[in-house]
């Protein structure tokens, strides 16, 4: 409100005065009607203006208020700052503003009578301002800020709700195991949870506002940088490319961490994209495990080569490829020759080590694209891609040579190792994976059969197949012969050479009777019986029969001091039930001690050294004797002899039959004989087919002789089972 100056007041010109008077009236009316509180104090702090708003809010009418001081109207007036402001205004011309916050309720004013009843004082904002009129006046404006206070309160409430929500969210984000990063619309980082800080190596304080890809640097497994994900998420559809790549995070130190991530757009309530959220987690362990599992599924843990499963799968591809493209491939099937010896004499640790060393040796011979796998105990397979038979044969022979030249050393022992290799061509004509494998196996077996340490190339419809075919037929024939007991026992005398001895040694031999009564020699059916695990049954039949004969004719046999040499196959030697069977039969037939001598071959004994030695010891306790058959034909390691408590050494016939003419054979026989004697063993020479041989043997001093020059094999019994010896 403008207070009129003295000069203006003195205007007496009627029109001017009237106009001025009108202006004053209007001003006074405006002040009175204003929707804010207006009061004016004069120099003596007396009220000279108290508008309607003031009257209504304070419930004090203007006539009562005017001329009084504020203290007179409001005796309880507390606000020191308000009084001070008025004084400063009147005395020093200062303006003041009194905020609601700092001066909540300076005057006892009420917004309505209802609020007055409730004692709810109006929130006020007060302005104090000097007015220069007749001397200094103080004008006070009072605003009702109650609505603003309500808004303020609401705002506080909302923001504290918002904050507690935010705190909740942060607490959740801090406690979860996943890393979370949020970005704004430009892909700049807004927030990272503690896990994201740990994994990236960057604290949020350093990354806020930075482009995501600077901090969250992700590579695909191929090493390609993967930066477009966030862009496509933000700019295009809001959908992240959810294709599952194997991703790795490159952290601040430059280390790669395998991660799984998901991306999503953040939207406001109107569905506009406002940013993106990336969630990722460390899957190093899982991925490592998966790799490990994957490796283990396709590899042999001992040697690190591929395993059978993988080999078979690759072979399927190879066979298919040969069929579809007509390319030529080859398959090698390898079987180590002396693995069992190493395993049995030095233990499994040595055997394992041998396999590892051989694996390394083999790896050196294959080409990059070839597949080398360990297929079983000491069997290996090699797939040679795009490899014609000649090349495959060269590779096979190179492999065989290098293994042949290799010596395996363990403790103070040294072993030569051989390998039998079967080679099969894989061509468009190849039948199936199974057939190819079976052919390779057959070829490998043939290589073994032919004397080991060689390569055998499989020829379709070649002799082996025929042999196999006939062997298969033999199996049924042998089986029916066993069932129908169509065997006959023969014997051949083993005579002492120089010693005067009254005991009679005979070796029991076997013949098979065909259905038509024809006699079949052992050379025809034994190989098949050996291959198809029928030898144990034949051995048992022989043992049972011989023991029965002994128990039926004890008198004559004991009197003449007969000793029966019975052949035992390798199968019988390794099977525990054979040992039990023999023990039972010995007891059952009350076989006299020293009457039975079992002949076992050197190869059979050595390839099952531990069980053979157990077998021998047990039966020796039961009064049986043992003879090591075909000595010198196999490995001829005299060291093994020490471990085999045998009584006789039977010198292999191949040395004997030519010894009369072959000096080397003669020397062999001589040295074996010598060693045998040193070890306190009796020696036997078989295949003694001439007088000349007999003479040589006499000179050498062999203990026993056996062969056509001494006696031919003859039936042990007649057709009725009656013993023919006397």
């Amino acid at each position: 409100m403008e207070i009129l100056s003295e000069a203006e007041m003195q205007l007496h010109s009627s029109t001017a005065f009237a106009a001025a008077q009108q202006s004053i009236d209007i001003s006074a009316a405006i002040v009175d009607q204003s929707n804010v509180g207006i009061l004016v104090l004069n120099q003596d702090s007396q009220l000279i203006c108290w508008n309607q708003w003031m009257a209504a809010s304070s419930n004090i009418p203007a006539p009562f208020a005017l001329g009084k001081t504020l203290k007179e109207i409001f005796p309880d007036l507390q606000g020191l700052r308000f009084i001070q402001s008025i004084n400063d205004c009147l005395n020093k011309g200062m303006s003041s503003l009194l905020s609601t916050k700092l001066n909540p309720h300076p005057l006892p004013l009420y917004g309505s009578s209802a609020e007055r009843v409730k004692g709810q004082i109006m929130s006020q904002m007060i302005m104090v301002k000097p007015v220069l009129g007749q001397g200094k006046l103080c004008m006070v404006h009072i605003f009702d800020v109650s609505p603003a206070m309500v808004r303020d309160k609401l705002l506080r409430q909302r923001s504290s709700e918002y904050r507690s929500q935010e705190m909740n969210t942060r607490a959740i984000l801090a406690s979860i195991g996943d890393a979370v990063i949020t970005t704004d619309l430009n892909g700049h980082i807004d927030y990272m949870n503690p896990m994201a800080e740990t994994m990236t190596g960057w604290p949020l304080s350093e990354t806020k506002g930075k482009p995501l890809e600077q901090i969250f640097s992700v590579m695909t497994q191929g090493g390609k940088k993967d930066i477009n994900l966030i862009d496509s998420c933000l700019k295009n559809t809001g959908k992240a490319n959810t294709e599952s790549h194997e991703l790795a995070l490159v952290n601040r130190e430059g280390n790669c961490i395998a991660i799984e991530q998901s991306l999503a757009a953040i939207r406001d309530p109107d569905m506009n994209i406002t940013g993106a959220v990336v969630v990722f987690r460390d899957v190093s362990q899982a991925r490592k495990l998966a790799q490990q599992v994957n490796w283990q599924a396709t590899h042999d843990t001992l040697t690190g080569l591929y395993n059978r499963n993988y080999f078979d799968a690759k072979l399927t591809d190879m066979v298919l490829d040969a069929r579809e493209s007509g390319r030529q491939h080859a398959l090698l099937y390898l079987d180590l020759d002396q693995f069992k010896v190493v395993n049995d004499t030095c233990g499994h640790v040595a055997g394992d080590e041998l396999l590892r060393q051989i694996s390394q040796l083999l790896s050196a011979h294959i080409r990059t694209n070839d597949t080398l796998a360990r297929l079983g105990g000491d069997e290996f397979g090699v797939q040679l891609l795009n490899c014609p038979a000649e090349v495959a044969l060269r590779i096979a022979n190179q492999t065989r040579h290098s293994i042949g030249n290799f010596r395996f050393c363990w403790d103070d022992k040294s072993f030569g190792i051989g390998v039998s290799i079967g080679l099969v061509e894989v061509t468009a004509q190849s039948d199936s994976v199974e057939q190819v494998l079976s052919d390779a196996d057959t070829a490998c077996y043939a290589a073994k059969d032919n004397g080991r340490n060689q390569v055998h190339v499989y020829r379709t419809h070649a002799s082996e197949a025929a042999v196999r075919q006939s062997e298969m037929e033999w199996v049924t024939r042998i089986q029916s012969a066993i069932e129908q007991q169509r065997f006959r026992l023969y014997f051949q005398a083993i005579n002492p050479l120089s010693m005067i001895e009254d005991s009679r040694h005979i070796e029991i031999l076997i013949r098979m009777l065909d259905t038509d009564g024809q006699i079949i020699s052992p050379g025809a059916f034994i190989p098949a019986a050996e291959r198809y695990n029928l030898m144990s049954a034949i051995d048992r039949w022989v043992i049972g029969k011989v023991f029965e004969l002994i128990s039926n004719n004890p008198q004559i046999l004991i009197e003449n001091r007969y000793q029966f040499a019975i052949n035992l196959s390798g199968h019988s030697l390794s099977g525990a039930d054979t040992l039990d069977y023999i023990s039972d039969q010995l007891t059952k037939h009350q076989i006299p001690s020293g009457m039975i001598c079992f002949e076992i071959t050197e190869t059979a004994a050595i390839s099952n050294l531990s069980s053979a030695s157990h077998f021998i010891r047990k039966l020796k306790q039961a009064g049986c004797l043992f003879s090591l058959d075909d000595f010198g034909s196999g490995l001829s390691s005299f060291a093994y002899l020490k471990n085999l408590p045998v009584d006789y050494l039977k010198i292999d016939g191949s040395f004997v039959k030519d010894m009369a003419t072959d000096k080397i054979d003669q020397a062999m026989v001589q040295s074996i004989n010598q060693i045998g004697h040193v070890m306190n063993l009796k020696t036997i020479a078989e295949f003694v087919e001439s007088e000349a041989i007999l003479e040589c043997l006499k000179i050498i001093g062999v203990d026993y002789v056996q062969g056509y020059a001494i006696a031919k094999p003859t039936p042990l019994t007649d057709d009725n089972g009656k013993l023919l010896i006397t």
Binding site: L80, R81, Q84, D88, K92, G93, M94, S95, S96, L97, L98, S99, T100, K101, L102, N103, M125, M127, K129, P130, L132, V145, A148, M149, R151, D152, L155, R156, S159, S160, Y162, R163, E166
Partner: protein
């Protein structure tokens, strides 16, 4: 540009410190807690320089100010300036309302801050007026916000050689020290008048 001597500047500093003392007393009483206010330095410098000086302290961010004009034997605008976030911090500390998470200053807080500025400016200008035994008339305090160059520039009809009186001020509350600036924007004539007043005052003291 007109220059205030070091001695004159010391006198102004002294007077403002007296004003700050009484403002601090008023504020302490109002908030029930010790509020410390002091003016460590005063300088009369060019407008551009002042803007730079303030920007050095507050950085590029927006500033909050409370402006009050005064008229009398010397005249101009008094402006109290805080960095925006510091002013928010200050008002919340004063109102013991530290927990409010809002990043913007609320309407009510603006009002309270205006009052605080009002108390400080009144006390400081009042101490000048007191000493010089001059009556000044003060306008109502106004809350302003924005770029500090605009705040300083928009205040008066700028003249080339106008300078301004820049008072660096420390506001200590609950062990936090909030730096602010108090500027008196006066034209040449007004500064001359102030300078004359100081000389007169000194002469009387001798």
């Amino acid at each position: 540009m007109l220059v205030l001597t070091d001695f004159q500047q010391d006198v102004i500093s002294e007077l403002f410190n007296i004003g700050m003392g009484s403002a601090a007393a008023s504020l302490s009483q109002m908030v029930g807690e010790t509020v410390g206010l002091s003016v460590p330095s005063v300088e009369y410098i060019g407008h551009t320089m002042a803007v730079k000086r303030i920007q050095d302290i507050v950085g590029s961010q927006e500033v909050t100010g409370v402006k009050e004009s005064f008229k009398g034997s010397f005249w101009g605008d008094a402006l109290l300036i805080f960095p925006e976030d510091r002013s928010r911090e200050l008002v919340r500390a004063l109102l013991k309302d530290q927990d409010l998470p809002l990043e913007t200053i609320t309407e009510m807080e603006q009002e309270a801050l205006t009052e605080v500025g009002n108390i400080i400016l009144n006390a400081c200008l009042g101490s000048l007026a007191n000493v010089f035994q001059q009556n000044l008339i003060y306008g109502l305090p106004q809350y302003t916000q924005g770029d500090c160059e605009e705040l300083l520039g928009a205040n008066m009809e700028q003249q080339e050689n106008d300078g301004l009186l820049l008072l660096h001020m420390d506001f200590i509350l609950q062990e936090t020290n909030i730096n602010g600036y108090l500027t008196l924007l006066m034209n040449v004539d007004s500064v001359k008048a102030l300078s004359d007043q100081i000389d007169l005052y000194l002469a009387e003291l001798v």
